[in-house]
């Protein structure tokens, strides 16, 4: 499996060349921690991190 990259803007993880959430191409291969958000409206984690779209996110992007 190809190494995933994290968007530097919204921290979403993707295997492609474009961020699936914000459509940015500024991706970083250096990231750590994973957060899977399924229900951003009810999730405390999502509200803390200001995530509004269900997806896979990195916790820290460098």
């Amino acid at each position: 499996m190809a190494k995933e990259k994290a968007c530097r803007k919204c921290k979403a993880l993707t295997s492609g060349k474009v961020c699936p959430v914000c459509k940015s191409t500024d991706l970083s291969p250096d990231w750590s921690g994973i957060i899977l958000v399924f229900d951003p409206a009810k999730s405390l984690v999502a509200s803390t991190l200001e995530i509004t779209t269900p997806s896979r996110y990195a916790l820290k992007v460098q």
């Binding site: 957060i35 399924f38 405390l44 984690v45």
Partner: protein, 217 residues
């Protein structure tokens, strides 16, 4: 001395009185039964009211933490096979998106090896999501308070914690493991100029702020 006959009469009176009393008691028993029936009927009629009362109290108690939208979220630490946390998270992601299980989020933290953290409204929902997934080894009893997890989510840049004259430890780069004293901090570039304490010469070195850790922490 009193006459023994009188005593007997008195005894008879008493016995008669007892009979009367018994009758009275029977009457009162009947009356009580009637009352109990009435009471049960009234209790049955009154039952909905106490049932309604707790709902009002729960809504009242749930109202104060309204600043956070999902105050009913609970966090469960799930033990996994070492090194398989991401694998478990990926399988959980596929399962939850396909089956619409009520799990709200899943966290895989590098500083929390061998565990993943599942956010769900209820323990049963978390169990439902994790049932049948490989590499899941168990669960820590109870749930984690959110304030324990919050510290992992919000990471302040290291540079904000650094001040001039602080003693720090270099945790990465060519000077890894050395202790140093900060002489200048560039908050914009996230760099700090330090003087290495272990070195025989006091040479100022500029290093990335993320390579520094405050001594004593």
């Amino acid at each position: 001395m009193s006459d023994p006959r009188e005593d007997q009469e008195e005894d008879l009176d008493v016995s008669l009185d007892d009979e009367d009393n018994n009758q009275d008691l029977e009457d009162t028993d009947e009356a009580q039964q009637g009352k109990e029936e009435e009471a049960s009927a009234t209790a049955a009629a009154a039952k909905p009211a106490p049932a309604a009362a707790p709902t009002t109290t729960t809504t009242a108690s749930a109202a104060p933490p309204s600043d956070r939208p999902a105050s009913d979220s609970r966090f469960f630490a799930i033990r996994t096979t070492g090194g398989q946390e991401r694998m478990v998270a990926d399988m959980l992601y596929t399962k939850v998106t396909a089956k619409k299980i009520g799990i709200r989020s899943v966290m895989v933290l590098d500083s929390f090896k061998g565990y993943i953290i599942v956010e769900a409204p209820d323990a049963n929902v978390a169990y439902e999501g994790l049932a049948g997934i490989r590499h899941v080894r168990g669960q820590i009893r109870g749930d984690l308070p959110f304030k324990d997890i919050e510290g992992y989510l919000i990471k302040k840049p290291t540079v904000t914690e650094l001040n001039i004259d602080d003693t720090v430890e270099v945790i990465a780069g060519p000077f890894k493991g050395m202790k140093a004293k900060i002489t200048r901090v560039d908050y914009e570039k996230q760099e700090a100029t330090v003087v290495l304490l272990d070195s025989p010469y006091q040479i100022p070195v500029t290093v990335d702020a993320n390579y520094l850790k405050k001594a004593g922490h």
